[in-house]
Subunit: 340 residues, 2 copies
């Protein structure tokens, strides 16, 4: 019977025809995928864990790009992509245990997330994206530190010394406010922590006291949140000449807020982003482009080929500084008469 469906060549066409005919007559719907998976020990799917609430994942073009790349890799291998339902709120780790998959991709979850721990307990290969390396686990990610360094270098080169930062959430507990140094260094989101640290290093090297640089955090990741963060930042520190955002979405919000308060970008205020999403490119945002689609695709390929090697692999993707129309030297507010 099994042969009739799976290996038409192993038996005579006549028999096969008769078997399938009878099967249809009896209303047999074809082999059950679950039973087949049990026996063959292949689920034919890879799991994707992203603990963010889903509106984040689907509304951030960078995340959608990763998703797309991963889906492409899965499609190439004729393997399904199983989105694990992991709301950030309730700790529904059972969903991880219930997922019938041959491996996991973990994307941008906090390092203390119980879902991540549950994934690592499962006896299947795992690839993590944008996370710190874990013992024996494959990893894909851009060189965040270097990428942020390019931005910082660019701004320092332009002459900016009074800067402010807007970043995404740093931990699972909400904090829509300025960020203390302790929270910065103890951030559980690896990407955000790395970017802040790299900024600290670069600006300190340029003689800027990092402890004096205000950092505003937003839990949610929307254009509006970027705008409100910029408002909070500029209300408290009007002397700031450049707003550094750790994502393009936040930068779009900062731009909107700048326009709202009559600041011209880049003459009055420089705004930079991170990711290089399409909309940012369209409006000419200065940002660091990272190949999000490649990120997902590489992770998928890595996972699907993980049977073939033993040593874990770490792949670092290139990034590129894209100078747009939103960065310029700071206005010399202290000595405006010098400008002529």
């Amino acid at each position: 019977m099994s042969n009739a469906y799976n290996r038409p060549d192993q038996l005579s066409p006549e028999l096969r025809r008769r078997v399938l005919e009878t099967a249809r007559r009896l209303g047999y719907p074809g082999p059950d995928p679950v039973a087949r998976s049990l026996r063959t020990r292949r689920a034919g799917a890879v799991g994707l864990l992203l603990t963010e609430n889903l509106s984040y994942a689907f509304r951030d073009p960078a995340a959608v790009g990763v998703l797309e790349g991963l889906a492409l890799a899965c499609e190439d291998a004729s393997v399904g992509l199983h989105l694990v339902p992991a709301s950030p709120g309730r700790e529904d780790v059972a969903a991880v245990h219930r997922a019938g998959v041959d491996g996991f991709v973990v994307y941008s979850v906090p390092d203390d997330d119980p879902h991540l721990a549950a994934v690592l307990e499962r006896p299947v290969p795992t690839v993590i994206i944008d996370q710190p390396s874990l013992e024996g686990i494959d990893r894909v990610g851009p060189d965040d530190a270097a990428a942020v360094g390019k931005i910082a270098e660019h701004l320092v080169g332009l002459g900016h010394r009074q800067v402010g930062v807007i970043c995404m959430r740093l931990a699972r507990e909400r904090n829509d406010d300025f960020v203390s140094p302790a929270r910065q260094s103890g951030a559980h989101f690896h990407v955000q922590r790395t970017r802040l640290e790299a900024l600290a290093v670069a600006f300190s090297a340029a003689g800027v006291d990092w402890a004096g640089v205000p950092v505003v955090e937003r839990f949610d990741h929307t254009v509006d949140d970027g705008a409100s963060a910029a408002r909070q930042l500029l209300d408290a520190y009007p002397q700031i000449t450049a707003v550094i955002c750790t994502s393009d979405i936040l930068a779009l919000g900062a731009m909107a807020e700048a326009e709202r308060r009559g600041l011209r970008v880049p003459q009055d205020l420089t705004v930079t982003g991170f990711d290089g999403i399409a909309e940012a490119e369209r409006i000419g945002l200065t940002t660091v482009h990272q190949p999000v689609l490649e990120k997902g695709k590489t992770a998928g390929r890595l996972l699907l080929s993980s049977g073939e090697r033993s040593a874990p692999k770490v792949i670092t993707l290139p990034t590129e500084l894209r100078i747009g129309r939103t960065s310029a030297p700071p206005r010399t507010v202290e000595e405006p008469w010098f400008g002529g």
Copy 2:
């Protein structure tokens, strides 16, 4: 053993502790999800079939919205979302058979797609979105005909009689060109066919000869494709006063093309879209808004509750005409001296 994991209340805490302890010592990774699914006859996942090549699905904000809604519904029910790898090219129907899911959601595939047929053969509940009703199958979708009618009414009311249409693919075979009446009426994508038919009805009622209205089709669905379609349309029919697009993405492209050739929107050319995506709203595109997130969420809920009822359900979602800054009365090119 099973009890220790699944029903902590049925046995004493002490025993449970001991069992789990021993399990860990033996390196037992917890119950196997596939075997469990086989036994319990619940896969804990719903399948999503969208035959489009994936770059379409993830780059069209409307599709991403549906995906997000569906994912939200799944999350609510603690059920995974399984993306079935169904490339449009190779007819890999086996992927549908291999998917271990409790039901399917089918979104916007052509009605003659073999994957769709394969889904319907599976003995699991199915919900279709934006497709013609099928015997005994749940369905979710907007009232496309009425929605398009609103657009047509709006344009007719403004005085447009010379219009052109840009639409998405009508069949699985590529045709990046003008569309013959036969292809229009035989379109395999239900949504597109419905919209064209509704336009035909509305404009015919206004005294416009529909056979004389040019319709340009594009297989891919990007802003650039919208631009090239507009170019083809306006090159051949420069007298057109309004370009009706069956999606916002295409309309964005048409706007870009209008700008490229120095046409002011809406003074020289009216452009309308369909879907009501965020970017369209930001630039003030005249369009019909449909609740894409609701569409996905409703489909998911319907599927997950389909055990509770017998009669299939058809849910029609409301749409809303959003008049923006891209539609205005046509310029009276025939008699320019009348204008003063």
